[in-house]
């Protein structure tokens, strides 16, 4: 059964066709990759799922419920957690406090929220830095913090927007291991936009490819990389491998 | 009341409104480029008014003639303020910038109080009581002169931003700060220049305003608020909007003073401000960001 069902959504910005009639679904418990060259409409699609934009046409179902008219906070409460491509830490707060903000969605009491946040930080390898101000973190740590905060809202579906970009290969592999573990042990479904092909290939069981706002291919990683349409749209594009 | 009273009051409000508009133009230019809200704007206006009063009472120099040197003095004041005080605050949070300018305003308004005392001071020129009659419409000469001067200064400012290299460079800074840095514009100097130009507008407007009203130190904060209302109504950062807003507020104040009570006239302006903020927050002529 699919947890997320995106049904022919479109979004235009002042005549610019950002996303056109895109449909795909994410199976419950699955890991789905969303790839495509720059400007393909990946982040716009993401923002429609997360409730930042309402689609012009089409609908988005989450666990069978239409969510495309909901606000971002309602979507988060429904069980979809997201990260931002350009990280948005609460700079004035400590690392632990950042994650506690997320944890308060499911835990009303500060003590419980703190315990939940601390556990997530350990899991992401940020335990030692929990009392530092978020503004002092390096970029890889900020990316981890984004993930930790989203996880603290206990999502059924986790939307990851280029969380590997800028990480070194070993850091990237650590991240991949974290997501695998999360998926296996907690059953969290994951939808990730990623430029780092190494991570997508290692993680995703299904991949959807966007180009010029339209879906051009879907399938397993092996199928997608052999698809002529995909090869063509990436030709001349610099892909990180 | 006969109809010509309304017309007379409306025309008088329109002429005063043009001077308001020039004052607000200064605020709008500064905000549009430097992105700092000059909370000491009205205080700078009163400085110019006092300068005009002093020059007139000691040397019989006409405020409209002294407009040029006084605008020059205010330009220098604005330039130095931006360079020395405000520039380090460009990237600080809004409330921090606000407190800086509140401190400046506090010093300026009370400095004026110490120097000039609390009593109202004004000028009486040869044309103070002259008027022109067009049909049954009677207009005060000083209002006509002040409004024409305001239009002339505004036109000069439009020309400066449209045709001169410095004006174009300032507009480039306003449109794209990073781009301006990349192409090698001296942004700090241009910001100071802009603040100077905004202050010069206020200086010129002060010289005109002193023909219409007597000056007291508390006029400063009142004009600051008035300038805010005008630029928000017209559109913060829009030059045409500032003039339009000035005229609108001038006319509505004059009519509200006639219909309701003179003391209620600014209630009307603030009501208009609230409406504009809610219905068209970018202002009448502002662009939505």
């Amino acid at each position: 059964m699919s947890l997320l069902d995106v049904r022919s959504v479109s979004k235009h910005f002042r005549g610019l066709r950002a996303v056109h009639e895109v449909s795909f679904d994410v199976a419950e418990g699955g890991i789905q990759g969303l790839i495509g060259p720059n400007g393909a409409g990946k982040t716009t699609t993401f923002n429609m799922i997360a409730g930042v934009y309402a689609p012009d046409t089409g609908e988005i179902l989450f666990a069978g419920r239409a969510i495309h008219r909901l606000r971002p906070d309602e979507i988060c409460a429904a069980g979809i957690g997201r990260t931002f491509q350009i990280v948005k830490p609460f700079a004035g707060l400590s690392v632990l406090d950042n994650v506690m903000v997320g944890a308060f969605l499911r835990e009303r009491h500060a003590a419980n929220a703190r315990a939940a946040a601390a556990k997530i930080l350990e899991r992401l390898g940020l335990g030692a830095k929990r009392d530092l101000p978020a503004s002092s973190l390096t970029l890889p740590d900020r990316k981890r913090l984004e993930v930790a905060r989203a996880l603290a809202t206990r999502p059924k579906l986790l939307l990851l927007d280029e969380v590997m970009a800028g990480l070194r290969p070993t850091e990237c592999d650590q991240m991949v291991a974290v997501f695998r573990e999360l998926n296996r042990a907690d059953g969290t479904t994951i939808l990730l936009i990623e430029h780092v092909m190494r991570a997508v290939m290692a993680l995703a069981r299904q991949i959807a490819v966007l180009h010029h706002g339209a879906l051009i291919a879907r399938g397993t990683p092996e199928q997608v990389v052999r698809d002529p349409a995909v090869l063509e749209c990436y030709l001349g594009e610099e892909t990180e491998v | 009341m006969p109809a010509e009273i309304y017309l007379n009051v409306a025309v008088s409000g329109l002429l005063t409104g043009l001077v308001y508009g020039l004052m607000a133009l200064g605020l709008s230019v500064i905000f549009g480029v430097v992105r700092v809200v000059n909370f000491a704007h009205g205080e700078m206006m009163t400085i110019a008014m006092y300068l005009a009063v002093v020059l007139f009472s000691h040397y019989r120099l006409d405020p409209l003639v002294m407009m040029v040197p006084i605008a020059g003095v205010l330009f220098a004041l604005g330039y130095v303020m931006q360079r020395g005080l405000i520039n380090p605050f460009i990237n600080r949070p809004e409330h921090s910038q606000f407190m800086l300018l509140v401190a400046l305003a506090l010093i300026l308004v009370n400095g004026l109080l110490i120097v000039f005392g609390p009593d109202a001071q004004g000028v009486q020129t040869s044309y103070s009581f002259a008027s022109f009659a067009v049909g049954r419409l009677i207009v005060d000469a000083n209002k006509i002169y002040a409004a024409l001067a305001a239009l002339a200064v505004a036109a000069a400012l439009f020309a400066f931003f449209r045709y001169t290299l410095a004006g174009k460079a300032i507009r480039a800074c306003a449109d794209n700060y990073a781009g301006a840095l990349v192409v090698g514009l001296d942004v700090k100097r241009l910001y100071a220049l802009t603040f100077g130009i905004g202050a010069a507008c206020v200086g010129a407007a002060g010289c005109m305003m002193v023909l219409l009203v007597d000056v007291t130190p508390p006029l400063g904060p009142a004009y600051t608020l008035l300038a805010f209302v005008i630029v928000i109504v017209g559109g913060l950062g829009s030059m045409g909007g500032a003039l339009l807003g000035g005229v609108l507020i001038g006319v509505s104040e004059a009519l509200a003073g006639l219909f309701i009570a003179p003391s209620a006239k600014s209630m009307f302006s603030f009501g208009l401000l609230i409406l504009i903020l809610l219905l068209r927050p970018q202002g009448l002529l502002g662009r939505r960001t």
Binding site: C76 | V109, L113, P221, F270, I274, L277
Partner: protein
């Protein structure tokens, strides 16, 4: 006990004992310090915690003062009922301003100007409201200095001092609790990055409204105190923008968003203002305006050299 809680206990003891050490004049200065510590704390909930800059907080002082003042003036109803009306009216007003601003996505400078506009609008409105005395003001019946009439909040300076101390301490405790609860975390998240806050499931509209409502209710109580302490109310004075600025000076100088900032800022400012007045009187420079110039210079210096306020710098020194 930590250094911080020991210091707090000592401070509390000093404040309780203070009336027995001070004369009447010094006691009135201390009352004023507590008053500004209280209003600063209230403003801080909105700006320091939730990041919504209000430059029109005088409107809540004024509406609160006039609400309780009118009940007493016209119907002889004491401030204990009046404070409820004051809080209800100010919460309603705050919710209206907040609802309009947040629904229409007005933020930053525009929000600040909207709050000024509402305060000015209300000031001129009261100038034309005959029921409250218009520009001529409203005068509450003054009692003998040595009567103790708690029902009508009439008593000696000592009573006002302890009332203000209770209010300031209550506000401090409330803010400390809020800051450590879900509300405090949510507000700070909204202050730091509203979009990220919303993505974490926070209904930012509702939480911002809550901050405005709490801040307005707290400030309304200060208004009621003002009415019964000074016994005369003039729209021109109570709603004026300089009153709004006075409220925010303390927390800005002490440290926006901190618990001790408003307290420290109010103390420094009030003592300074008082000290300047006395010093100027001593040298015979009683020129109107000169005190405000000094005030401005001090403010300028603090804003330039201690951008986060005095408290964060002091706390680091004291290792609290």
């Amino acid at each position: 006990m930590s250094r911080a809680s020991v210091s707090l206990a000592i401070l509390a003891a000093i404040l309780v004992a203070l009336p027995f050490l001070l004369g009447n004049y010094a006691l009135s200065v201390a009352t004023l310090i507590l008053y500004f510590a209280y209003t600063g704390q209230a403003w801080n909930v909105m700006m320091g915690f939730a990041g919504q800059l209000s430059l029109g907080h005088a409107v809540y002082v004024g509406v609160g003062a006039y609400a309780a003042g009118s009940l007493f003036f016209h119907y002889g109803i004491g401030p204990w009922a009046g404070v409820l009306l004051a809080m209800a009216l100010c919460v309603a007003l705050g919710l209206i301003i907040g609802f309009l601003a947040f629904r229409f996505r007005i933020s930053g400078v525009y929000f600040a100007l909207l709050t000024i506009a509402f305060a000015e609008f209300t000031r001129i409105g009261f100038d034309h409201l005959d029921w409250t005395g218009g520009p001529g003001g409203m005068f509450l019946r003054v009692a003998q200095r040595d009567t103790w009439d708690l029902a009508n909040f009439r008593g000696p300076p000592l009573m006002y001092y302890y009332a203000m101390l209770a209010l300031a301490a209550g506000a401090f405790a409330l803010c400390a609790w809020l800051l450590r609860s879900r509300a405090g975390y949510y507000w700070q998240a909204i202050r730091e990055d509203e979009e990220a806050a919303q993505a974490l499931g926070i209904n930012t509209f509702r939480w911002k409204l809550l901050a405005v409502a709490i801040s307005a209710a707290m400030t309304a109580v200060a208004g009621v105190f003002f009415a019964f302490y000074y016994n005369n109310l003039f729209p021109e004075q109570i709603f004026h923008i300089s009153r709004s600025i006075e409220i925010i000076l303390g927390p800005v100088i002490g440290g926006v968003g901190t618990l001790f900032g408003p307290v420290l800022g109010a103390t420094v400012l009030t003592l300074l203002s008082d000290g300047i007045t006395e010093a100027l009187a001593a040298v015979g420079w009683e020129i109107p305006g000169i005190k405000q110039v000094f005030y401005g210079v001090v403010l300028l210096a603090v804003v330039m050299f201690l951008p986060n306020g005095i408290w964060p710098a002091l706390a680091r020194r004291l290792r609290l």
